[in-house]
Symmetry: C2
Subunit: 310 residues, 2 copies
């Protein structure tokens, strides 16, 4: 119960927010460095048309290379059945599909209404069911704008769980909640994730939290209290949501891992090696701003990894 | 139980960390703006020799002006009896005295060992007892380096509570805990403040937390869980501890108030007016870096103050 999964989203969520493309070879090296630091799950690419997002044009190559890394779960984002088929063909272990709780954000982000986005997920689940049983990938959804939306404002909480239950009924393995625009507060996070666990049981998924207003790690503490065991984060804090005005700032993987290990949660991640992966990221995207406090301040003299406590 | 006191330390803790002195008139204006934003307690000055800290040479003037503000509790820091007498003579409502849990930090910070610093607090309590009963100020201590020390490393938890109990016995009104160097994690914060409440009852004081490793607001959530109702913070996040190498970054008042009000805690503080006080600070110290996420990102569309919830 003491083990937390940090799911790295930098190679997908981070890189898609940066206009220039990271060369494919650099992506391979960076993903290997992340895995060597102990990350066990990485969202490596997005299967969207290269015209819309040229940074992700090499998605299939990136997945094919990443699945060679022993012990790594390779995630790919796909906005629809077509993208999901391509991701699965490339060998992705899990496909993650975007569904918004806000109509306005859904249309801005995936050019579909919420119900249509849910239907796309249904098509992916059906497609998966038709595959040989040893070749069926995981399917997960993080419900975007679950805590509010910059376009629409308030998002009805009951609506969020109506969508979550509909997705569970379609066969989605895990359904998490995303604070896409950095509106969430710890009281809300605790309440929503506690309800998610009550309503979905073992299909309750992880937390995708942002640090837009400096509240990212505060929300992590609240989510831990509600029993959440999977957290998305991005190395150097790159990325955010390009279709949510004013939103920026994924959780910084370095700061998140420091927080969790300090609290006694095992992440399996070595912070020194994580800083090696950060250096590689900085080298591959010279001049790109990276975030995070730990890389500047360094580890406390009193720091021990959860597995190495005195 | 829903009310939280945010104690602003910028005019003391913040300004003493900045080499140039803010002009006295500018301090008066800034403190008034802070009070107008709804801050009910402000630590306005430090009574140390002007030779050591020229930024605080006007301490008595600043206190005399601040106590004219209706409803405001005016705090002053004093390292010893002499400073405390001057602070009380100027009219400070409360005197706060520094006591470290770390021997090394104590000697670096106040040039006394821990036991000697505790004795100084005893002298102040005796002096207070000799004053007419209507002119006795509050006396409080925040125990520095309670969560670890950059100089000494680990700080023994039992030692922290031994010091806290000794201070309570001397008559100190409230004894809080300070993460002077940004080493604390939420699990430790919750454990330590829960024990503080158990051991000290209504003499258990507030939390002085730092954001050195990005963990400041995460530690606030943990402290709230342990029942803490007073938090120090600094407008624009200025200040830290000059005698703790590598330590920087008080909690940013703006981000803290946003977090608390979003969670439904009443602070009495108006965020728009707080940003006016921030603008005044920026004007008075041109070029000085100010911190905080909320001032950049702005309030969410969904934000309501605790007292104005739908």
């Amino acid at each position: 119960m003491n083990r937390i999964l940090v799911s790295e989203v930098g190679p997908r969520d981070g890189l898609q927010s940066i206009a220039r493309a990271m060369p494919t070879e650099a992506k391979h090296r960076w993903i290997r460095a992340l895995a060597q630091a102990g990350l066990r799950e990485i969202e490596v690419a997005s299967f969207v048309p290269a015209k819309l997002m040229p940074q992700m044009a090499d998605a299939a190559d990136v997945v094919r290379e990443a699945v060679k890394i022993p012990g790594l779960t390779v995630l790919a984002l796909a906005p629809n059945l077509r993208g999901a088929r391509d991701a699965i063909a490339a060998g992705a272990h899990k496909v993650t599909l975007p569904v918004s709780a806000s109509e306005a954000h859904s249309r801005a982000n995936v050019r579909m209404g919420v119900d249509e986005a849910v239907s796309q997920v249904g098509l992916v689940c059906e497609f998966r069911a038709g595959l040989p049983s040893d070749r069926r990938p995981g399917v997960e959804v993080g419900i975007s704008t679950a805590f509010g939306c910059t376009l629409q404002g308030e998002v009805d909480e009951d609506r969020v769980f109506e969508i979550a239950l509909a997705l569970a009924k379609l066969g989605v393995d895990t359904i998490g909640l995303s604070d896409t625009v950095g509106y969430a507060n710890p009281a809300q996070v605790k309440r929503m994730f506690a309800r998610l666990a009550r309503e979905l049981g073992d299909r309750a998924g992880g937390a995708h939290l942002h640090n837009t207003r400096g509240q990212g790690l505060a929300n992590v503490v609240a989510a831990l209290d509600a029993g959440v065991t999977t957290f998305d984060a991005s190395l150097g804090g790159i990325g955010g949501c390009p279709h949510a005005p004013g939103a920026s700032g994924n959780l910084v993987t370095e700061d998140l891992v420091f927080l969790l290990e300090s609290m006694g949660f095992e992440t399996g991640i070595d912070l020194d090696r994580l800083l090696v992966a950060r250096a590689l990221l900085a080298e591959s995207l010279p001049g790109e701003p990276l975030y995070g406090h730990l890389p500047d301040a360094g580890l406390p003299k009193t720091f021990h990894r959860a597995t190495e406590r005195p």
